[in-house]
């Protein structure tokens, strides 16, 4: 395609149609350039499949009312419904609503059927003792998680006892914020953002030197717009452990758009540490 116009440029003086040809050539090349530079054909990135977050209970509000604290406040708005393995599907999200939203995006490409070859990945080797061991591990893990939950509950209970409002609230009062004193049902927006970031934070304790788990800490400043968009962030006080700091950056990147708008702009100084893990181990 690049040869033909060159030849014509040699016949520049003789050919009267040159002007028109040149114009066509310009337009065509311009189009090609536009197509590739703006990725009209979608060679590299497919449009992101839409993900719907529906949360009618834990919507962040400006003026939360006091109520019974939920041990796991806004866990649900997290992307759970999309995960095929997720167990905590939000009851508020009717399944059929999510599925069709995702499927059509995928269909045009080659169908992603689970192939028989991938099956062995999920450990064909299921000997008895391994089963027993994995069961044991699971129990141990579950225990650890339970301990962590218990610890959290204790914490909350203590907090609740200290605030007279929460202490006088009967058990069946709707879920609200522990320190809420307003008139709206829902989570305090800071709690809400906190939960979103925590849910997006993935860090294996095996990445960290076991001796540092108790005292590793980093601070980050995050600025969210009222629309729930992360405007800027900065790790003010890194932990010095690259794996830890990288995991924070990933968590923040994943939280760049909150699933719900906020009542107002929000600047957060978040302290990240592993104190709950350290406590559960003790």
């Amino acid at each position: 395609m690049s040869v033909a116009p060159l030849r014509q440029s040699n016949a520049f003086h003789s050919d009267p149609k040159f002007g028109r040809l040149l114009l066509v050539s310009l337009i065509v090349h311009g189009l090609i350039w536009v197509a590739f530079s703006f990725d009209l054909f979608g060679t590299n990135t497919r449009p992101k499949p839409p993900i719907y977050y529906v949360d009618l209970i834990h919507k962040p509000v400006l003026n939360p009312q006091a109520g019974r604290p939920d041990p796991r406040p806004a866990k649900k708005p997290q992307a759970a419904p999309v995960k095929p393995t997720a167990q905590t599907v939000t009851p508020a999200v009717p399944k059929p609503e999510v599925k069709p939203a995702v499927k059509p995006q995928v269909k045009p490409a080659t169908v992603a059927k689970p192939k028989p070859v991938t099956k062995p990945i999920v450990k064909a080797d299921t000997r008895k003792d391994q089963k027993v061991q994995s069961a044991l591990d699971e129990i141990r893990e579950r225990q650890a998680r339970k301990d962590a939950r218990e610890a959290m509950k204790d914490k909350i209970a203590k907090l609740a006892a200290s605030t007279s409002v929460a202490a006088t609230v009967p058990a069946d009062v709707p879920v609200g914020s522990l320190d809420g004193s307003g008139d709206e049902v829902g989570s305090a927006h800071v709690d809400f953002v906190r939960t979103v970031i925590q849910e997006n934070w993935v860090l294996s304790p095996y990445l960290i030197d076991q001796a540092r788990i108790a005292d590793i800490e980093a601070k980050a400043t995050l600025v969210y717009s009222a629309a729930g968009k992360l405007m800027s962030f900065r790790i003010n006080a890194p932990s010095g452990n690259q794996q830890f700091d990288d995991s924070l950056k990933r968590a923040i990147t994943k939280s760049e758009q909150l699933p719900q708008p906020l009542p107002q702009d929000l600047e957060l100084v978040v302290t990240f540490n592993l104190k709950d893990i350290a406590a559960a181990r003790r």
Binding site: L22, H29, I32, W33
Partner: protein
């Protein structure tokens, strides 16, 4: 006129070039290093060929007739009174057998660390040896070897078998 021509030319060349750039796939080089490893250059451990090397089988000595085994408590190498009686009988027997040399084998039951049991077996054999020497047997005629838990008398995992395996044996060497 001339300037217009050159301008046109420049434009053509420019657009051709931009077209080419547009056509070229925007390949961003990845930053992470992709290095190459040649596995065939690395050395591999070779197993032994069965025929290439002949290990001599351990000559098994027979338990000497007339010399009884002695037994020990778990994790102990002190001689019980029963063991002392047996050893004095053994000493008398040895003193009648003028020129026979004896190897005392120390053994343990299967429980416990193998390395520690090697030492424990050695201590058992040494305890038996020094008692025999104290009863007048020449130290030159006595040698010791520990097999730890490697040669149980009874191959089972129960109290009875373990009691049988915690022992010192006396074997003649020629």
């Amino acid at each position: 006129m001339k300037t217009v021509q050159t301008l046109k030319l420049v434009l053509i060349v420019l657009f051709l070039f931009s077209g080419l750039v547009g056509c070229a796939k925007p390949v961003t080089e990845d930053q992470a290093p992709v290095t190459q490893a040649d596995m065939s250059q690395q050395q591999e451990a070779k197993g032994v060929d069965d025929k290439s090397m002949q290990g001599e089988a351990v000559p098994s000595h027979d338990q000497m007739a007339g010399m009884e085994r002695i037994y020990f408590d778990f994790d102990q190498f002190t001689l019980s009174s029963e063991a002392r009686q047996i050893l004095s009988a053994n000493a008398k027997y040895l003193n009648t057998m003028g020129d026979v040399n004896v190897v005392i084998e120390g053994h343990c039951d299967e429980r416990g660390s193998d390395e520690y049991n090697l030492a424990l077996g050695e201590s058992r054999a040494l305890a038996a040896k020094s008692y025999l020497v104290s009863l007048g047997v020449s130290a030159k005629r006595l040698s010791v070897i520990s097999y730890g838990e490697e040669k149980p008398l009874v191959d089972a995992s129960n109290e009875e078998a373990w009691a049988q395996n915690r022992r010192a044996e006396f074997k003649s060497v020629n």
